[in-house]
């Protein structure tokens, strides 16, 4: 965090000054470890074993926050008889189908709970509010004594019983002493008076069990009562200025704005009613699903969206499998993609198995790259390793390339959403130079051209374009579209008079409101750009400086801490004076506090739903997690995940170590493997690849370097690709500090300067020494500061829930000296060129969304 989110870490240091204890768990000793009270070295990719050990410790020592667990989590829920745990089935849960490599998740349901159809068929889950599909029409059976053998609490105990400190030591390489120190610190700093926060970044997400790593931390934090309270939570540290925003208002294949799922090629999604019924909910917040869906269609199709044509819903495109970045890369590689837009991203360096990415670019008809400089994705046809090696010839690469100059953040106005959902508006300071333009300008003027070409078309497929509402005013000599007009549409408005809505509570399902992204409703409340507010408040006022409610605007509804109803006890009183945040004000008959309450403002803590209640009425006044159908946070996830209701230790797909807990299985059985000759896997425990590699970031560079390697200051600060390696393995391989070394996987070999250092220590794993190599991934072959790319080494793989690749743990080998070939690739000739597949050929993942499982 000190390295990649330095100014965020400043607040960790402030907390430390006030007595907070800081623990850093990471394969390598970094700038963060240096400032922490304790650094715990872990084998990359074994976090679930470690967190599972902590969960077991908290349960065994009865250190959990009992009242919180009992009232705010699903610990007391009783799971159906058909459920079998991974402990009983050698690492697999009940419902496993070896043919398809997927689970029938209906076996994970609560007893007596009906699971909505969507839960059973959804192949890709959305990233937020997961579990909304687990809608139970029946009443939940509970055992408030937590003794029932099938209650979640007991299941949890049994599931983690073997995750002992000894097992943690054997799997993770974490000593008894370190383990206990962490466990004690967690327990001592949780409860009524104290809270603990977890901060994580892609070190937890970029794994084939990445989602479950976060889940494991959630379970631990729920047991300790660390959600919705000041100083608590699990805080995702995100690496791009608006990566949160681009998930909320998604440039993602499986989502529509506001986490509404993309329609899918199934009977339910052919009509608006079917889409709403199968994705909405009877209980909890998602009972409002219809209002958000109809309002989005009104924002897009205006007057043409009417009740009698289902507001245009049936004309939306439908997904039928995995259309993620990697699936599209494979399609392009097979010649099945004509055109590709790349805006502010650099897949030729930044995407996994980058050599394959570049070969895919060479098979496009046309490519549009929008960036500030000539990044590798734009120049691959003349200087990529594949061209230099002679594998590809520039004259034979038929891709037509448009490299469009983009505007920087100070040359346009607009808003970013930061890592805590805070939406901050930037004013424009100067004009972009020459023909450089914003993406807003590009999309607007492209849209005008496209719409003009389809105007008046009566073809069914052209309906969405011919009726697309696109009337943004333009200004200035370049005819820049009015960014606030776009933001107002995102906010939503009353169709009759154009008045901006103030909250999503005003949205309706009858076509009288329009809203581009319901969770952003209120960002233009009262016709004022709330994201442009700049009053930080008084720093010593708890309602001011710590929360700064008038600095910019946070979704939803300007709430700064989600689920903050949990900062008060079931009766609505703060758990302690020290940790007061949001509480029930009996006199006012409302929730009040320092933050905007994340709860219905006047729902009394003693409200209990009447029999058969629906929607928000079905959530009691003592259930803070209102996005969930049962109002409770889920220790056990009866639906919504593809790889199990409880996090389970699996090895990374590529690991030099067997799975000690589930020897038959090794890696996540549902992990996505793209099995083809160009994407070869290093087999488990292959003696050719005995080392673990992990990638990391430097303060002085940004992601794939497109925004940092071209800057003289930053280039000078970190000029060269290097690798961190421990002295033992370095001596063994004859690698000298400052000398060259080569890192090898099945995909590629890259060279780097060796940094022989104790920062990355050998571990003892299952009684044997294990060595790790740490690689920054900012360099590429182009620009003023060339260097080999770490991502050339990687395997294309995917977490089964979100398709993120496993780049934080893979196996490799190293040797002294420079690489042996003119190119980084080892794959020449691995796959003979095939005849191109037609562009409209069906998506292969429609048949097998998850390729053959191990």
């Amino acid at each position: 965090m000190a390295e990649a989110h330095p100014v965020g870490f400043r607040w960790v240091m402030k907390a430390k000054e006030r007595g907070a204890r800081v623990i850093h768990v990471d394969p390598r000793f970094s700038r963060t470890s240096q400032l922490a009270d304790r650094h715990v070295a872990i084998r990359a990719g074994t976090d679930i074993a470690f967190l599972g050990g902590l969960i077991r410790h908290v349960l065994e020592t009865e250190s959990y926050f009992r009242e919180y667990v009992l009232h705010y989590t699903n610990a007391s829920a009783i799971v159906g008889e058909q459920f079998q745990d991974a402990e009983e089935l050698g690492g697999l849960f009940s419902g496993w189908d070896p043919e398809t490599g997927t689970y029938d998740r209906s076996t994970w349901a609560y007893e007596g709970g009906e699971v909505a159809a969507a839960a059973g068929v959804r192949e890709h889950s959305t990233q937020a509010f997961e579990g909304k599909s687990g809608m139970h029409a029946g009443e939940f059976k509970r055992d408030e004594t937590l003794q029932h053998p099938r209650c979640v609490f007991q299941l949890l105990k049994r599931h983690y019983a073997r995750y002992t400190p000894e097992m943690v030591e054997r799997i993770c390489g974490i000593s008894h002493e370190d383990f206990l120190a962490v466990a004690d610190a967690l327990v001592e700093n949780s409860g009524r008076e104290r809270t603990t926060a977890f901060c994580y970044a892609v070190g937890w997400t970029q794994h084939t069990a990445g989602v479950q790593m976060i889940r494991a931390a959630s379970i631990l934090q729920l047991l300790l009562g660390n959600f919705g309270r000041p100083g608590s939570g699990i805080l995702a540290l995100r690496g791009h200025a608006s990566i949160q925003g681009s998930t909320d208002i998604p440039t993602l294949y499986d989502l529509l704005p506001g986490y509404l799922p993309m329609p899918r090629s199934r009977a339910d999604d052919l009509t608006l009613e079917g889409y709403i019924t199968s994705n909405g909910a009877l209980r909890g917040w998602w009972s409002n699903f219809d209002k958000y869906a109809v309002s989005l269609l009104k924002a897009w199709f205006g007057d043409a969206a009417r009740a009698e044509n289902d507001y245009g819903f049936p004309r939306l495109p439908k997904i039928s499998g995995n259309h993620s970045h990697f699936a599209t890369t494979m399609r392009a590689l097979d010649g099945g993609l004509d055109g590709f837009f790349v805006m502010g991203q650099n897949p030729a360096v930044g995407s996994q198995h980058a050599g394959l990415q570049r070969r895919a670019l060479a098979r496009l008809r046309w490519l549009v790259v929008r960036d500030l400089a000539e990044i590798e994705t734009a120049s691959f046809w003349r200087d990529s390793p594949e061209v230099r090696s002679g594998e590809l010839r520039t004259e034979e690469i038929a891709t037509e390339v448009f490299l469009m100059p983009a505007a920087t953040h100070v040359e346009k106005e607009g808003c970013f959403t930061n890592t805590q959902r805070l939406v901050q508006f930037r004013d424009k300071a100067l004009d972009p130079p020459g023909d450089a333009r914003s993406e807003l300008w590009f999309m607007h003027h492209l849209a005008k051209r496209v719409i003009a070409r389809y105007a008046g078309s009566r073809r069914e497929r052209d309906w969405p374009i011919a009726n697309l509402r696109w009337d943004y005013p333009e200004h200035g000599p370049t005819r820049e579209p009015d960014v606030e007009a776009v933001l107002k549409e995102i906010n939503g408005y009353d169709v009759a008079d154009g008045r901006p809505v103030s909250t999503f509570n005003e949205l309706k399902a009858d076509g009288t409101t329009a809203c581009g992204c319901w969770i952003y409703a209120g960002i233009f409340a009262d016709g004022v750009n709330q994201a442009r507010r700049r009053d930080p408040g008084a720093i010593d006022d708890p309602a001011g400086g710590w929360v700064s409610p008038e600095w910019a605007w946070a979704w939803p509804a300007n709430r700064r801490t989600l689920y903050n109803r949990a900062s008060a006890d079931p009766d609505g009183r703060p758990w302690s004076e020290r940790k007061r945040f949001v509480w029930w004000d009996e006199e006012a008959g409302r929730w009040g506090g320092y933050d905007v309450p994340d709860f219905q403002p006047d729902k009394r803590p003693d409200y209990r739903p009447p029999e058969g209640a629906r929607g928000m009425d079905a959530i009691s006044g003592a259930e803070p997690f209102m996005m969930m159908a049962d109002g409770r946070a889920w220790l056990y996830a009866p639906s919504g995940l593809n790889d199990g209701p409880l996090p389970t230790h699996y090895e990374p797909i590529e690991s030099p170590v067997e799975n000690l807990l589930y020897p038959q299985l090794s890696s996540n059985p549902t992990g996505i493997r793209w099995q083809r000759a160009e994407n070869p896997i290093n087999p488990t425990s292959d003696p050719r690849f005995p080392l673990v590699a992990t990638s990391f970031r430097l303060t002085e560079h940004h992601t794939a370097g497109g925004m940092s390697r071209w800057l003289p200051w930053l280039a000078e600060l970190q000029p060269e690709m290097f690798a961190e390696i421990d002295p033992v393995i370095a001596a063994d391989r004859g690698i000298e500090d400052g000398g060259w070394m080569t890192i090898v996987t099945e995909r590629a070999e890259i060279e780097a300067r060796a940094h022989v250092t104790d920062r990355i220590k050998p571990l003892r794993v299952d009684g044997r020494p294990l060595h790790q190599i740490a690689l920054p991934w900012h360099w590429g072959y182009g620009g003023p500061l060339p260097g080999d790319s770490t991502n050339d080494l990687g395997l294309i793989s995917g977490d089964p829930n979100v398709s993120i690749q496993e780049s934080k743990a893979f196996s490799c080998d190293v040797r002294a000296g420079r690489r042996s070939r003119p190119t980084t690739t080892r794959l020449v000739g691995a796959a003979p060129p095939r005849p191109p597949v037609p562009t409209n050929a069906d998506d292969p993942s429609a048949e097998e969304p998850k390729e053959a499982a191990e």
Binding site: S242, M343, R426, E439, H444, W551, N840
Partner: protein, 192 residues
């Protein structure tokens, strides 16, 4: 539209004063000024100040952008921001060079199929050519149904990548136009 005029005036006025302007920017009181600094005055005095946000990581540090006559002079941490209180990390502090980097593109570069060099292209002409190709790719990749006979109403002819470095409004227009055209292969850095 959004100009500095709309910002609370007091901040602007204070910043124009050399000494206070400097003190504000460094997040320090007057006491921190040495006599030499007092003499030198502020490099940023008299410049137009615009409030912005760092374009690198998602911490979201506030920035103040100083310009003179439409030219960028410097970018510093915004002392008013409760996130960074005037500080920036090396990337944020280098962001002036992001704008003024030596390799900054200002013209469209075009590489024809099989071409060995970049060519220059006029912006409006490039936009026309892209629109033509986009429409052709949409039509070539169109599917009413998949091979199971399920309705899909989509095109697989073109794809989009990127968004995490862009503005929310930009992502909104990308998703809106490309979805209306039937595209499903729309992705960004969130999975990376």
């Amino acid at each position: 539209m959004a100009d500095t005029g709309a910002r609370p005036g007091s901040f602007e006025r204070l910043r124009r004063l050399p000494l206070v302007g400097r003190a504000l920017d460094w997040g320090m009181g007057e006491s921190a000024l040495s006599p030499a600094t007092r003499e030198a005055g502020a490099r940023i005095a008299g410049l137009r100040a615009t409030e912005s946000v760092c374009p690198y990581c998602a911490v979201g540090c506030g920035q103040v952008v100083y310009t003179r006559g439409g030219r960028l002079v410097d970018i510093e941490g915004n002392p008013r921001s409760p996130i960074n209180q005037g500080t920036l990390c090396p990337k944020g502090a280098a962001s002036r060079q992001l704008v003024q980097q030596p390799g900054r593109l200002t013209k469209v570069r075009y590489r024809r199929p099989g071409g060995t060099e970049w060519e220059e292209l006029e912006l409006e002409r490039a936009m026309d050519m892209i629109a033509d190709r986009l429409i052709a790719a949409r039509e070539a990749g169109w599917q009413d149904e998949d091979h199971y006979g399920r309705r899909v109403d989509r095109t697989l002819g073109f794809a989009h990548l990127g968004g995490a470095t862009l503005d929310n409004e930009e992502n909104y227009l990308i998703k809106k136009l490309f979805t209306a055209m039937g595209a499903v292969q729309i992705e960004n850095q969130a999975r990376i």
